[in-house]
């Protein structure tokens, strides 16, 4: 019974890990940083509205560059 439960928890955890982190940990990190920053700049009207989208765009660029096709041998 315990082994069954442990296996179930592991499978559940692995599903969420693959789903949210998978091979793009930088996007999970991006989300964490954006959430943290949103709380830090609490109430700052323009700073939040400008900084959060720019940060998301910057992380997206990094992640996209990480996933690019490379020349053979590089």
């Amino acid at each position: 019974m315990t082994a069954f439960l442990v296996r179930g928890v592991k499978t559940f955890g692995k599903f969420w890990w693959d789903f949210l982190v998978g091979d793009t940990p930088e996007l999970a990190l991006a989300t964490g940083v954006i959430v943290a920053l949103a709380f830090l700049i609490d109430g700052e009207r323009l700073v939040g509205a400008i900084l959060l989208p720019l940060l998301a765009a910057a992380f997206l660029l990094v992640s996209t560059l990480r996933g690019r096709r490379r020349s053979p041998g590089r």
Binding site: L27, G48, R68
Partner: protein, 264 residues
Amino acid sequence: MHSTSSTIVLVLAVFGASAVEMVEALTIVVAAGVSRGWRSALEGAAAAAVVLGVLVVVVGVPLVRYIPLDALRVVVGALLLVLGLSWLRKAILRSSGHKDLHDEDKIYAETVAELSETGAESGTPGQGRVHPGRDGVAFVVAFKGVFLEGTEVVLIVISLGAAQHRLGLAALAAAAALVVVAAVGLLVSRQLSEVPENTIKTAVGIMLTSFGLFWVGEGAGVNWPGSDLAIPVLIGFFIVVTLAYTAFMRTKLPAPSPEGSAAA
């Protein structure tokens, strides 16, 4: 009171996400139906759709009822953000030639071949040899296909629906996409390889990212200028970002090898 702009984006995002995932699921269901028999394939698909519906009710309703709205918005906003950024990344890599486009024809052919082999092993060989009665393999393959593709849709429905307290509307948009894709699939009786999947995926990625960012900010106390009107502005921003990144990534494609084998 819900603003019209966020309602439209909610419906479009859920409908688009569901349509993309259902096109992928349809390919597997059609492959199972053609190679093993339609009855069990359709039963498997229907069973998975019911389980997904139950998941929306079991997980979504308590979320809406018992979790404080601001906390809910931060959590679902973060979930939407990570999903949206990942969809956008994939779509940009595909549009710019760094990643192969999702090929429904190829997936269909592979699934049919696999199922035909399974049939041959169990003494019921080949494509076209359909089972008149129930077939466990067709049921399981169709169930898995619809369930796995639908899990992401369930998360999007719950996230977008719960954050706006419009779970019913989100579920309805997903159900509408399911009905439309299933009807078209049954009508043409094959996989829908002509659907511009990457374009829809790009659009949905932009909407999920915009919504995610908006809800994270709202939940954390950021006052977006224009309130809900910030959502279309964010969508516009990410459209520009996506177009710019796609063009930029095209310049980063590796040169073709001297032997002439195309890199893209």
